[in-house]
């Protein structure tokens, strides 16, 4: 059974998911990269974000007549947004952050406080992502920020697979893995030196 979360996502649904769980997302997915995070924190969000999903992504889009079509929309490296995300989560309360590569301690703490998740989407799988985006509902600050940095509001259906990489209970797959990799590396170094 595939689990689907639909926005607006209630806090208890996000809290029920644990690091390592896989789910799909339906509803509203809103892109925000570095500039969008910075500007939203400065002047407020152009739309309410509570319970919605935020996507670290600069899409490739095409305009056909009056409608925007999404060609490819893979995730960008989330670590750059660590500067903003904790405050962003506390003030605007999105329920899911979608990106790749994971985020740091400040974000992990904020996820726990507000009951939100960080979900990993496969890097490079831009076509798979685009196929789940059914419609571009609106775009904000396009002229000011340009296509990759603008705030795109996507209507998505079964967007995923998404892996819960950081949950609202203080668990981060990245943190656990890096400790494991360091232990493995000690054995690997010994193998090389002994060979």
């Amino acid at each position: 059974m595939e689990r689907v979360l639909t926005t607006p996502i209630p806090e208890e649904e996000a809290r029920a998911l644990r690091a390592g769980d896989v789910f799909y997302l339906s509803g509203l997915l809103i892109t925000a990269r570095d500039e969008a995070h910075k500007k939203i924190l400065e002047r407020g969000s152009p739309l309410p974000l509570e319970g919605l999903a935020l996507f670290h992504c600069g899409p490739v889009v095409q305009k056909r007549g009056e409608t925007w079509e999404v060609v490819a929309a893979g995730p960008t490296t989330s670590a750059r947004m660590e500067l903003f995300e904790a405050e962003f989560l506390r003030r605007f309360r999105p329920r899911v952050i979608v990106g790749k590569g994971g985020m740091g301690e400040k974000t992990l703490t904020a996820l726990g406080e507000v009951g939100a998740l960080y979900a990993h989407f496969t890097g490079g799988a831009g076509v798979l992502a685009a196929q789940a985006i059914k419609r571009v509902r609106e775009v904000h600050w396009l002229e000011e920020l340009g296509v990759p940095e603008a705030i795109w509001v996507f209507e998505v259906e079964r967007f995923g697979p998404l892996v819960v990489a950081m949950d609202s209970h203080g668990r981060s797959l990245y943190k656990e893995l890096s400790a494991q990799v360091e232990r493995n590396m000690e054995a690997i170094r010994a193998r090389i030196r002994g060979s």
């Binding site: 490079g124 799988a125 831009g126 890096s178 193998r191 060979s195």
Partner: protein
């Protein structure tokens, strides 16, 4: 077919069709993995199939157009080929379409057609003969950022090389979008070591270096890196690299250059062959 059309077709196929050897390696990796790692490989393989059937780029980063031209000195259309390479890039940028990825480092201006100073990056390699073989490698930025040069003291020997490669690839974690393909260049000089690393990426997966010592190093590096547990997308698992390929050149007695060229799972490559009668084959 004009040479421009042939090369533009090669770049279009490289951007949208993953070579079969890479697809097979990803499928084998999927069978080995479970949990989040398997989920990543399933998503990757679905994405590859969608890109193939829709003829759209596999990844939104369509890379820096990179060409390796092995040309016969008696190939009759060399002059035409020389100008056909950048023209084919301009054409494919419009028709595929490719993301405009060439930014002027001082002004920030992007010409919008994937060409610029020294770009497309072309390596010309003259050979005896009258035909040409053009290898096309659209190289993504995320994995290129994880490439590196180490100037090792020669005294560290083969063990030092192994340790440096493994430490470097493992430290990169999920950043280069693993499972990656790693090209290792040993010897030559600083520039040649990195170039050899990139040339090593052109070899199909599953094809070992013809010299047994080099082939053994490739196998050992794969096993060591995959023992790290970094896994697909850095989420943990058995497959951190799909392959490690090694090339070498003789070195200066005082130097042991080590070039590490890292390529993401979307290891896009195409080969265009043109005969003296202008017959063209494009693969995949």
């Amino acid at each position: 077919m004009s040479l421009v059309e042939a090369l533009a077709e090669g770049l279009a196929r490289a951007s949208t069709l993953l070579p079969q050897d890479v697809v097979r390696a990803l499928e084998r990796a999927r069978e080995r993995e479970e949990g989040p790692a398997r989920v990543q490989l399933e998503a990757i393989l679905r994405n590859v199939e969608m890109a193939r059937s829709g003829r759209v780029p596999i990844c939104q980063d369509t890379g820096t157009p990179t060409f390796f031209v092995r040309f016969g000195l008696d190939f009759p259309y060399l002059k035409e080929l020389f100008s056909a390479v950048p023209e084919a890039v301009r054409q494919a940028t419009k028709t595929v379409p490719l993301r405009p990825n060439t930014v002027h480092p001082f002004t920030g201006k992007n010409p919008g057609d994937n060409t610029g100073r020294f770009i497309p990056a072309v390596t010309w390699e003259p050979l005896p003969g009258d035909s040409v073989e053009i290898h096309i490698l659209p190289k993504g930025g995320g994995s290129e950022n994880c490439s590196a040069l180490k100037m090792l003291p020669p005294g560290v020997g083969l063990k030092g090389i192994k340790e440096a490669v493994v430490e470097h690839v493992v430290a990169a974690g999920g950043l280069p979008c693993p499972p990656t393909v790693v090209g290792v260049g040993i010897g030559g000089g600083a520039d040649l070591a990195l170039k050899l690393g990139k040339i090593a990426l052109l070899r199909p997966l599953g094809q070992r270096h013809p010299e047994p010592e080099v082939a053994a190093l490739e196998e050992e590096l794969e096993a060591l890196i995959n023992a790290s547990g970094v896994g697909p997308m850095g989420l943990g698992g058995k497959t951190t690299v799909l392959a490690v390929h090694v090339e070498y050149a003789h070195r200066h007695p005082a130097s042991l250059p080590l070039g590490i060229a890292v390529q993401c799972w979307a290891h896009r490559r195409a080969v265009v062959r043109i005969g003296p009668d202008r017959s063209v084959t494009v693969s995949p």
